[in-house]
Amino acid sequence: MQTTSNVAELAAISKRMRREVIEMITEAKSGHPGGSLSAVELVVTLFFDVMRHDPANPKWKDRDRFILSKGHCCPILYAVMAECGYCPKDQLRTLRKLGSIYQGHPDMRFLPSLEASTGSLGEGLSLGIGMALAARLDKSPSRTFVMLGDGEIQEGQIWEAAMFAGFKRVDNLVAIVDSNRIQLDGWVRDIMDESPLADKWESFGWHTIEVEGHDISALQKAFAEAAALKDQPTVIIAHTTKGKGVSFMENNPKFHGTAPTVEEEARALAELA
């Protein structure tokens, strides 16, 4: 696969991935566009620039691993994995349909190049710790990245895992909070305010980086800072916009879990042209 550190190229890939997400979810007539669109630059920067991985050898022992703990946002992961060459692009439109490898939430039985089956929130960070510990035992350079939602981290297991990783200094682990500020029932600040979020992670022993989550060069710096840090896990709190890139989806709780209509799809694709 082609990798790149060029910001303009990563931005161009990001725009293509947004189009894929819209087309997949419209065709499926259900799914979660908002949190897929907020995570585009994060997932694209990881897969095309930051992570050491090889789509031709998906079970390479020393690969970096990515776990989408907020599993409902799998359309962006599928689109990026297909773009990398892990799985067929021409089947992306089968999302959520009977027999599709692109299940409604990530399912390793159907898509073995996934690192984890997710969908029940709050569980990916513990899995990531396990993978990071296995790499440490094997003296492997493998690093593990876990993407969490800002709604998801209301789950108690996240804080059990945060306490473990901070105390045990699991420094080959990076958590990313896609802080798009909206969850299913509305705004995070109204449902279960998490502020001061960085302070919470810091007090659990994590190195904390806050970053604008659609700024690719800022993301590159954040990931480089995490890679250089020893003896501490890093959490990147990425401030993002839910529905980013499509005006009528941005900051609109309706598009947490509602598919665009065909008319809305046309408007969205026109904006993403």
């Binding site: 029940s120 899995l127 710790i129 396990g130 510990l133 296995a134 035992l137 306490m163």
Partner: protein, 321 residues
């Protein structure tokens, strides 16, 4: 007087202690074995492994959900993790994680619950695991093992590390009689017939196996020929052993230190219903939680003794066609 059998039933190790010893031995022969515990390693006996192999031992604190998730992650990273706690915490607090991260993706995670059943005694019902077999058996693809003594525990723990897939092994706190010779061979999913008989079959698991042997001795003194089967693997069940018992003895008693509704008994009944009709009786805990007392008092009060098994056998035989 009960008739003598070849079983001396001398008191041996608790199955939790046999597990701890087997685990430490596994650590010596297989560098891929790793162990997780949730602040109970002195009680689950994983501490012996922890002392011998500190790099491969992960103390998770009192956080079972996270422990199970980390265990699954270690398995996905190529390790053979054994996560251990009291069965009641492992299965109940870790259940969602066992479902999503172990059963559903079918990962190579082993979980070993100790302090199962009511024979933990004085600590009382909050610590007593009487639902764990039904919970574990409900998970697709899980293998569920319930050894009866120290020999079975050692063999089955060792075997669990050799086969791929999620496995629950249920052990107890109480010292239990030794049933097997040290060289007995165990195969996951293959029941062991301990005594042959033609009038009734006593199928049991865990500490109820020894009670069933004693019940067979009592019945033999009455002229009743009882077959005794150790169903050490609850899932997958040995269907041939069950249907054979139904055909050849026509009466079956299933005994378990677990809720009678949901554990081994109902699963055996399902096989009987599908294969050959037989009169059945069930010895287990009857839709209730127990209480604090000595293990012996509790096993008496809640009807988990040879005398209960023998009485159930007489009822089943009376209903035979």
């Amino acid at each position: 007087m009960p008739a003598k059998t070849k079983f001396e039933l001398k008191t041996g190790l608790a199955t939790r202690e046999a597990f701890g010893k087997a685990l430490a031995e596994l650590g010596r022969v297989n560098p891929n074995v790793v162990v997780l515990d949730a602040d109970l390693s002195k009680s689950t006996y994983t501490a012996e492994f922890g002392h011998a192999f500190p790099q491969r031992f992960f103390e998770c604190g009192i956080a079972e959900a996270n422990m199970v998730g980390i265990g699954s992650g270690l398995a996905l990273g190529g390790k053979i993790p054994f996560a251990s706690s009291f069965s009641v915490f492992l299965l109940n607090k870790g259940f969602e994680q066992l479902r999503l991260t172990a059963a559903y993706p079918h990962v190579n995670l082993k979980i070993v619950g100790t302090h199962s059943g009511i024979s933990i005694g004085e600590d009382g019902p909050s610590q007593m695991s009487i639902e764990d077999l039904s919970l574990a058996c409900s998970l697709p693809g899980f293998t569920v093992i319930s050894p009866a003594d120290e020999v079975a525990t050692k063999a089955l723990v060792t075997r669990a590390a050799e086969v791929f897939g999620p496995i629950f092994i249920r052990t107890g706190r109480l010292k239990v009689p030794v049933i097997y010779a040290a060289d007995q061979v165990f195969e996951i999913g293959k029941a062991i017939q301990l005594i042959d008989g033609s009038d009734v079959t006593l199928i049991a698991t865990g500490l109820m196996v020894a009670e069933s042997i004693r019940a067979a001795e009592t019945l033999a003194a009455e002229g009743v020929s009882a077959r005794v089967i150790d169903m050490h693997t609850i899932k997958p069940l040995d269907r041939d052993a069950i249907s054979g018992a139904a055909v050849e003895t026509g009466a079956i008693v299933v005994s378990e230190e677990h809720l009678a509704d949901g554990g081994l008994g109902v699963r055996v009944a399902q096989v009987v219903a599908q294969t050959h009709p037989a009169a059945m009786e069930f010895v287990g805990i009857d839709n209730t939680y127990a209480e604090s007392a000595t293990p012996e008092q509790l096993l008496d009060k809640y009807g988990l003794r040879a005398v209960n098994v023998a009485a159930a056998a007489r009822r089943a035989i009376a209903r035979k066609r």
